[in-house]
């Protein structure tokens, strides 16, 4: 088939389905909000069994990552993500999915350069720039400490 880039974009747009913002944004809101409520539930649970705030938050992250990893393994997270959009991307479950999904996907390329390397395709940049931002803040905070 011989079509120009513009024509392709038009065709692609037509078939993109529910890319209308009045559908995608409420969906992202509802699904993202729901995931946060699951987080709130585990947060309460871990506090209830006697952990402080910080530990409960860490356990909650671990739990959500585990749930997301399992759902990704069963191929279910992608299905939810089709509707959730940013609602399944922005929570920590989306970060976990971004690690687990390529880890599984690229298993065919081996455990070292497939799974081991590709699991950081998205998580890598997140960690790099997160740590870098925190590092800059650390320098500022340390210098401020010298003068106080």
């Amino acid at each position: 088939m011989n079509i120009s880039k513009q024509e392709y974009e038009q065709v692609a747009k037509k078939h993109a389905g529910s890319s209308k913002m009045y559908i995608t944004i409420p969906k992202a809101f509802l699904i993202g909000g729901f995931i946060c409520c699951i987080g709130e539930f585990f947060m309460n649970l871990y506090q209830y069994i006697g952990n402080d705030n910080e530990k409960s938050a860490a356990f909650t992250s671990i739990t959500l990552v585990l749930i997301s990893a399992l759902l990704t393994g069963f191929g279910l997270y992608e299905r939810i993500a089709k509707h959730g959009g940013a609602g399944t991307l922005v929570p920590i479950t989306g970060f976990a999915n971004a690690v687990v999904s390529p880890a599984l996907e690229f298993k065919t390329e081996g455990y070292v350069l497939g799974t081991g390397a590709k699991m950081f395709v998205i998580a890598g940049p997140v960690i790099v720039y997160g740590i870098a931002a925190a590092f800059v803040y650390g320098i500022i905070y340390w210098i401020m400490g010298l003068f106080s």
Partner: protein, 125 residues
């Protein structure tokens, strides 16, 4: 009733973070990786200037579960480490703070990759 409102706050604030992300995706065509990077950096900056913690106190998991909460955790970790260890804390604080989440993602990712087979070839994005 208190507990109900707690969940409402988590739902609304967490939902809003995601809705903003969706607006960014729909309007700017930012890729998921860029959105996540932006959220973490934004969370770190907001955590550094002290604007994020009040939101965590208000919305609980609604603020900690989105990746901005991850960024806030980094800023907090840095602050705590510098208070404790001084200059060395600049180098240790970030990874210490995010260790639980990142280790969980790596380990569970590895286990899932070992056990599961990819049955559905359709990839996200």
């Amino acid at each position: 009733m208190d507990i109900f409102m707690e969940y409402v706050r988590a739902f609304v604030v967490g939902g809003l973070f995601c809705a903003v992300g969706q607006v960014l995706i729909d309007l700017t065509k930012l890729t998921p990786a860029r959105i996540l990077v932006a959220y973490v950096v934004a969370g770190t900056v907001l955590g550094a200037i002290g604007w994020y913690q009040p939101l965590v106190d208000f919305a609980g998991a609604g603020a900690t579960v989105p990746l901005t909460g991850f960024g806030n955790l980094l800023a907090q970790g840095i602050r705590k480490a510098v208070d404790k260890d001084g200059f060395l804390g600049i180098f240790t604080g970030g990874f210490t703070a995010c260790a639980a989440g990142v280790t969980a993602a790596i380990i569970f990712g590895l286990i899932v990759a070992l056990i599961f087979k990819r049955t559905d070839r359709t990839r996200q994005e």
